[in-house]
Each structure stands twice: as C-alpha cells, then as structure tokens.
Symmetry: C2
Subunit: 340 residues, 2 copies
DNA sequence: TTGTACGCGTTATCAG
DNA sequence: CTGATAACGCGTACAA
C-alpha cells in the first residue's frame, strides 16, 4: 500500500529542499534547468502525484467549480453541462454538479455546501423565482464568481448568460401567423419564472404586432409534462371558439397537445399547427416531427464557462457581464401548413 | 469582504483553545455540554463556515466521490446519477461527474485527476473494453473504493453493480417468440463490451432453447444512432430471407429500424415486432410505443452508492461485492401481435 | 473536560 | 538559483 510520495520524499532523494522541488514542479522561473529536470525525472521515478487538497488549502484555489441546476436528466441541461466541461476541464477544473429538483431550500443548502467546499466559482440555473437572495449575496461577499445561466436573477455583481426567450417566442408565434394561423393559444409553465414570462410576452407582442386579438382563455398554465399537455389541449379544444394553433413553452407540453389533437382527429399541420420550445431531441424523430425553438445549450454552457474564466483572470476588477444568446426556430412538420 | 472566520477566531472570542472548538464542532464526546453550546452559538454568531479543504487535508477524507461515465445526456446515465446523489448527498458527499465520451484515454486521465483531487471513492461505468487496467489498479493500490456500474470489468478488489443483461435479452427474445415470431434478428453495438456480449448471448440462447435457428446474418453491428438503425434494418430486409422481428440492444437502434420498416410499409406489430433496450423515455410516448428492457437506473445508482458506503464504513476489511439487478421487460405496442 | 503541540502537503516569503 | 521557515485551517495524540 506504500505511503504516497510527497515532495518531501523526492527532496530527500535528491538531497535538496522541498521548496526547490515545489518550484521545479510549478514552472517557477527561479530554478536552474538542470535541477528542474532532475526533479521531474525522480518525481516520475517515485511515482509522485501532487496532492490537490494541500495545494488548494495553501493557494486558496480548489480548482473546483459548482454547477447547480434543476435537473440533469433533460437534454437541455445536460448539454449545457457538456459545454461547461469542454471549456473548464482543459483548464484543470473539476465540475461538481448538483441538482435542486426545483426545490428552493435544496438550492440554498447546495450553495452553502459548495462554498464550504471552497469552490472557485458557481454556475447556476435557478430552481424557481424566489425572494430570498441571501445565499447569493453570501457567494458574492466571499468574492466567488457567480454566473447564472438560462434562469437568471438580477443581482449586482453576478453575471448571466441567457437566451432571448422573448425573441424565441416572438419568432415562433410570428411563424405560426405566417402559416395562416389566427387563433393561437399559448401553453406556459410557471409565469413567475422570468423565462416563461418572457416567452409569454414574446407570444403576446407578436399577436399585437399583427393586430390579432389576445384572448386570455388562450393562455393556459401547465407543468412540463405530457399529461398536462394533453389536458390543456383538451380544455382549449373544448372552448366555444377553439384555437387553430398552439405555441407551447415546453416540448413535452407540445407533445401532449399533439397526442390529444390526434386522438380527436384534428389534422396536423393541415388544420392545426404546433410549435414547442427547447428543441429536445425527441422532437426531431417523432412520427410527426415537432417544430421547436432551439436554445443553443452547448454554446450557453461554453459561454458561461468563459465568463467564469474571465472573472478568475481578473479577480481584482469586478466584472459583471450579461450575455444574451439568440434562439433559432427549427421549423418542422408540425407547423408546416404551407409548402413554399 | 471580511476574512473568513476560522476556529481560531471563535476560540479567541471565547477565550478557549482552538482544539476545544474543534471538538465542539465535531460531536466529540470529550467536551462539556455547556462549552459545546457556547461554541455552537458563537460559531453561528460569527457566521463561521468550516473549511472543507483543511479538514480534508487533515483527515485524508475529501467527502468527494468521482462518478465517471460515457455520457451524461442519456436518460439511463443521468438517472443513475440521480440515484447516486440520493444516497450520497444526505451523507455529506459531493459528486464530481466526469464524462469520457467513450474515450479510453480521457477515462485514464480522469481517473488520475480524481485521485489527485483525493476523492474518497470512484464509481465508474466503463467507456469501452480495454486491456489497460493500470489506472484501476492504481486506484485500488491507494485503497480507494472502486465500484463499477452497468459496464464493468472483473478486477480483484473492485465491486460492481450491473444489470443481468443476459436475462433481459433472453426475456425480450422469448417474448418475441411467444408472439409468434420465428425469424428474429438482433442489432448489437460493440461486442467487445460485456453488456452487449451478454445481450447477444441471451438472444442466442433464447433462440436455441426454443429450437430456432441462429442465422449469423441476422446479427448486425451498429452504433447507437437512429441512422445506423435505419441502415441496419434496410440491410436486414434486403436479405433473401428477411426476419420478422428485431431485438435491438439499444432503443435508438430500435427506433431507426421502425422508421425504416414504416417507410417500406411493413405493418408493426401485425407483421413485424420490435423490442429495444434501455427503456428510454421516448419509447413510451412515440406514436407507436416501443417495447423495451428496463434497466432500473435509479436503483442501480442507489445500489452502487450503498456499496461505496459499505466500503467506507469498513475500510480495514477488504470487501468486494458484485450485485446483479434484474431487468424488467416493458411490453408495448411495437411487439404486441397477440392480444391476450 | 480542556490545553499543548504537532502534522497533513504544499506554497510563499524571506534570506543568502 | 536555492535553503530555511512560516503559514493555510483543521484534527488529534498526549498530557494536564
């Protein structure tokens, strides 16, 4: 089981001091090429492995960053993570991933845990809108970079990388209008979350800009689940004056709606168009591929990571950056009434 | 920005020694209830936060465990992670997640990184079968618990939690036979990976046990992608004597096959049955729901975590545990020829 | 029950 | 260019 070899061991072997070894190992200029090579060689020989913890304790830099998000098992989020990894791992960082399951209390605990673990930064997608920002101010007080992605909160000192949800929704709605739809319904989730509020606004303003009426009964709340989508569609179609299109703020909602519509023999896209949001993979390979708004999750992750790196590079100067990515509408069969 | 408060600060405030504070904070029995309460109170008052790094360095326990897997953005794996989290986070552990993207070199690097970061254990799902086990023996030499899940490797000292892939495949094939299918093809991925080998064996033995012939040309390799599934199905159906059913080792493969079959107007399930493997969510909500073998990912994650905890609890005694979970066949429309 | 003293492995600041 | 020495913050024998 042989005790781990430390820089002290290799110092003894070379009859020099640990300080010199440390310098050799860390590309410190104040060392001769000869001894450096000597150190490196015997380090190899003794199978030396640097103890990250000790270095972290001393330098105050753990090389860990925390990523907090609602769920990991959703393509959007897991792809964001991938983006973050692609930027940060090559720089020697480790990613600690924590799921909140949309639980605010868990979010606060998690932030505390990560701070205690001395992470170098926190990238977070909010679990839900909350008045409580105490845990975030604590992060900032400790001078730990805090970057929101997708679901943000406006806090002095915190950066953010988000999608232009308003624009995405506007484009989707505009597209439906161009397909000839005039009675467009909207399925949203939790309007207290900024992203859903913005999607609603985009929907609403697209209608207004086209001089279409905004019927309150055409906007329904639902959870992001298929059953809820089915149920919501049922309600909409039971209206006296039912819609002829749905712009859903989630893909699963759109899928549920389509399932219900098919069950009552509504023809899509001929008589009814549907657009979802998130561009989850399944939207492509359904029998009836579903139009959806892509959120560039990979880019979002990479961008958030880069913002973090910037903050690290200039920790003295306080930077606060808000970046907004442009969404892309993926037009598929579910909303292709006109063949141009 | 106020420097972080340490146990020294709170010791000074109470005019006692840091050692006492430490004891109070760690439920050490050798302390009076009075001073303990006093310490806890002023710790609260001074907003003390324990420095995990320092504790880790001293105790040799980082409270971090590494989870290494091929991809995070696949329902199976992300759900395993969720299972691991549910067991380990309440115990105060942090989860460091690393993706290998099926790259063996990256896997080896990752293992090294995690060891240098002094993780308390490593849970891993192999990227691909490899002859090189050096990185694993290093883990074991350092007496760090190593637990394989799903994709394992037999190494002395390492534990594993896997699915009974053989049984899953056997059941799926048996089910197809019971539906009246006699010419059953199999789509596999990388036969060098144990899981796929076992699935093949299960398929094969189910045929043999039912006195059906095993045609070599009925087994095709593919990557786990839709296009590959389509392509493979095309090849199979172009045979002189084409199959009347497919048992695919992946769900995406099954989906691709179904897409091709539909495109050439083969009726499913009347004239052709398909079963996949993994029970990915999309299999349920396709227009034609796809039968699939469920792998109990949540349970697998929880079990792997529990095995890890056992190892930690008795680090002196070497435990090596191999657990095998039983798969469940989810029968859906794609293979329901007979209505019983 | 509490204090003393030291070490975990590394890095940084001095001198020399 | 290199050596000695002091931290980083905490835990724990040992002694009192």
């Amino acid at each position: 089981m042989s005790k781990k070899t430390t820089i002290y061991d290799i110092a003894k072997a070379l009859d020099i001091t640990a300080a010199t070894v440390s310098r050799a190992l860390n590309n410190n200029p104040r060392i001769s090429a000869d001894t450096k090579k000597l150190v490196l060689d015997t380090a190899e020989k003794l199978n030396y492995k640097r103890n990250g913890l000790a270095a972290a304790l001393k330098s105050g830099k753990s090389n860990n960053v925390g990523v907090i998000l609602p769920f990991i098992n959703r393509n959007f989020f897991s792809t964001v993570i991938r983006g973050i990894e692609e930027e940060l791992i090559p720089k020697g960082y480790h990613i600690i991933i924590c799921q909140t399951h949309e639980d605010e209390k868990k979010e606060m605990e998690t932030v505390q845990n990560l701070l205690n673990a001395q992470v170098d930064g926190i990238l977070i997608s909010l679990s839900r809108q909350t008045d409580n920002i105490e845990h975030f101010t604590q992060v900032l007080k400790k001078n730990v970079p805090l970057i929101f992605f997708d679901r943000k909160m406006d806090i002095r000192g915190a950066s953010s990388v988000t999608l232009d949800d308003y624009q995405g929704a506007y484009n989707a709605t505009q597209h439906l209008i161009e397909q000839g739809c005039t009675k467009i319904a909207h399925m949203t989730v939790d309007p207290s979350l900024l992203i859903y509020k913005n999607r609603y606004e985009g929907y609403r303003n697209a209608l207004l800009d086209n001089e279409l009426e905004v019927y309150p009964e055409f906007t329904v709340n639902l959870k992001s689940e298929i059953e809820a989508g089915r149920e919501a569609a049922r309600k909409l179609m039971d209206l006296e004056n039912p819609p002829d299109a749905i712009f859903s703020a989630t893909d699963l909602g759109a899928l549920g709606a389509i399932q219900h519509l098919k069950s009552i023999n509504v023809k899509i896209p001929e008589d009814f168009c549907v657009v979802g949001f998130s561009n989850e993979p399944f939207t492509q390979f359904m029998e009836l591929p579903i139009s959806s708004v892509d959120q560039s999750p990979l880019l979002m992750g990479k961008t958030a990571a880069k913002v973090f790196l910037e903050q690290m590079d200039s920790k003295d100067v306080k930077i606060q950056k808000s970046m907004v990515l442009t969404p892309t509408l993926m037009i598929r069969q579910s909303s292709t009434k006109l063949k141009s």
